[in-house]
C-alpha cells in the first residue's frame, strides 16, 4: 500500500479517529481543521498533540480553517457534521478538493444525500474521485459490496441503519418500557444525543437509504431527502411492542431503497429474523439478481468504526 497525504476536515468523533488511526493504515495527515481552527504540516501533523489540544482547548491548531483546504494533500477527508438542504459547508469542501483534482472521501452524509448529481458532475470534470463508504452503516462494507456486485445486480436494499432507534426499540421490547423512559436511559449511556431528533424521527436512516438509492440508481435517477417517506419511532407505545412479541414479531425502524423510491418507518418483522438485530447494531439486506439475498451486519456508528470505513476508502483510491 502506498501512503497518502490526508487533509481531514472536521474534528468530531470520526475526524479525530481518522487522525488517530491514519498512521496505522500507512497514511500521513498533513492538515486537520475543525470549525474554528486548523493545523497544517506538510511533513505530517503530530496526531497525539493535535488530539490533546482539541480535547484541552477545543481547537486543533493556530491556523485558519481555510488553510487546511489549501494544504498539500492527496485525499481530502470530509468529516464535518451532516447538514441538510444545500449541505454546506461540506459540499463546498468537496467541490474545492475535486477542482484541485484531488480525491475526496466523505463521512458527511449531506452532500451525497442532498446533491448527489452535482457531486458526480464535479467528479466527472476532475482527476479526483469521491468515495463515501462511511456515510452508510459505519464500519459495514455496504457500498463496496454494491460496487463489487455492480449496482444493476442489486434490485433493492433494506434494513436497520440507525443504532439509536434500534437500541430504543430493542430496549422497549425487552423491558416493556415506554419510549420516553428508554430514551432517557439511552441518553445517559451516550447512545442517544441530547437532541435525538435526527435519529428517532428517522431522518438519519432516511439519508442513508437516500444515498443507497442514489448508488443503486447509478445515474438514472437522483434522490434527495425530500423524495423519502419518513416515519419515526416517537409515537410507538410499549403496548405495540408487547402485541408484536405475542405474535413472534417485533418492531424495527426499517428503511427500504427500491427503484420506486425510499421509505423509512417502523415495521413489523419476525422476532427471530435477520432484521431484528438488537442494541446499536445495524444490518442491511441486499436483494441481488443472481445470488439471492445478502445480509451484512455490524457496527453502524462510532468514531473508530466509521474511521475504518474512511481509511478503507482512502486505501482504495491511492492503491
Amino acid at each position: 500500500m502506498s501512503g497518502a497525504r490526508l487533509a481531514v476536515l472536521g474534528a468530531g468523533a470520526v475526524g479525530r479517529s481518522v487522525v488517530e488511526l491514519a498512521e496505522e493504515y500507512g497514511h500521513t495527515v498533513t492538515a486537520v481543521a475543525d470549525s474554528s481552527s486548523a493545523v497544517v504540516d506538510p511533513d505530517g501533523v503530530d496526531a497525539e498533540a493535535v488530539l490533546q489540544r482539541k480535547s484541552d482547548e477545543g481547537v486543533v491548531g493556530d491556523d485558519d480553517p481555510d488553510d487546511a483546504l489549501g494544504a498539500a494533500y492527496d485525499v481530502l477527508v470530509e468529516a464535518t457534521p451532516t447538514t441538510l438542504g444545500d449541505a454546506e459547508p461540506g459540499f463546498s469542501h468537496v467541490k474545492q478538493g475535486l477542482e484541485r483534482d484531488k480525491h475526496v472521501v466523505l463521512a458527511n452524509k449531506g452532500p451525497v444525500a442532498e446533491r448527489y448529481g452535482e457531486l458526480r458532475e464535479l467528479e466527472a470534470d476532475s482527476e479526483g474521485k469521491i468515495r463515501f463508504e462511511a456515510t452508510v452503516g459505519g464500519a459495514i462494507p455496504i457500498l463496496s459490496t454494491i460496487e463489487d456486485f455492480g449496482p444493476t445486480h442489486i434490485t433493492a436494499a433494506r434494513g436497520v441503519l440507525n443504532g439509536t432507534a434500534n437500541f430504543i426499540l430493542s430496549r422497549m421490547a425487552a423491558e416493556g418500557l415506554d419510549y420516553e423512559h428508554v430514551l432517557a436511559e439511552a441518553q445517559d449511556l451516550g447512545v442517544a444525543e441530547a437532541d435525538p431528533t435526527f435519529d428517532v424521527e428517522g431522518i438519519d436512516a432516511a439519508l442513508k437509504f437516500v444515498i443507497l438509492s442514489n448508488v443503486l440508481a447509478d445515474g438514472d435517477q437522483e434522490f434527495t431527502l425530500e423524495d423519502a417517506t419518513v416515519d419515526g419511532i416517537t409515537d410507538i407505545p410499549g403496548t405495540a411492542l408487547d402485541l408484536a412479541a405475542e405474535d413472534g414479531r417485533t418492531i424495527r425502524l426499517i428503511g427500504e431503497s427500491t427503484p420506486e423510491g425510499v421509505n423509512v418507518g417502523p415495521r413489523l418483522v419476525p422476532a427471530d429474523g435477520p432484521l431484528s438485530v438488537t442494541g446499536t447494531l445495524n444490518i442491511v439486506q441486499l436483494e441481488t439478481t443472481h445470488a439471492g439475498r445478502l445480509n451484512i451486519s455490524g457496527r453502524g456508528a462510532g468514531g473508530p468504526e466509521t474511521a475504518t470505513a474512511v481509511l478503507s476508502d482512502v486505501s482504495r483510491l491511492v492503491d
Binding site: 407505545p237 403496548t239 405495540a240 402485541l243 405475542e246 417502523p266 413489523l268 432484521l275 436483494e287
Partner: protein, 176 residues
Amino acid sequence: MSDTGGEVQTHTVRLELVDEPGELLRALEPISEGGGNLLSIYHERGNLTPRGHIPVEVDISCAPSRFDNIVESLRDTGVNVIQAGSERYDEELVVILVGHLVDTDLSDTLKQVESCADASLTDLSLSAPRGRDETSSARLRLKTRSGTNGDALAKLEAIAADKQLQVIQPLTEASQ
C-alpha cells in the same frame, strides 16, 4: 402458526394430464375421496406443456393434513402433480394500529377495514392499559386475497389516517 394447523385452508394444485378422455375425471376422484372441497378447476385446453400434456389448475379447500394425503393419492393414480401446497388465496396480513383506538370507535374502524380493505379480520388483540386517555395498540390479523396485500394496506392506511391512527405495517414480500 401451530394454532391454525388444523384449519381448513385453500390450496392450489397444478396437474398435468395426458390428452385422453376421462383423464380429468380420474384426476378429480382422489380429491373428493380424500375429503377435499373442490373450489375451482381451470382446464387450459389448447395449451400444452412442453411434454405435450394439458395443464389443469385446481383449487381445493381442506385441512393441511388431508391435503398431503390427497396429493399422495393423486400421484398414486399416476397423475402428474407439478405444484402442491402453495396457497393462492387467504394470505395473512398482521398489522398493529396505534392511537386513540377506543375514542375513535374501534368497532367502526374494524368494520371499515373489513368492508373497504376487502379483508376479513381473523384475530384482534387490544392493549389499552391506561384507559381511554392514553394511546393504545391493537394487533389485527387479516386474511386477504392473494396478491392484494398492497391494496389492503393502502386502504388500511387511509382509514387509519382519517382517525389519526398510526399503522405499523409488516415488512412484506409485496413491499420488496
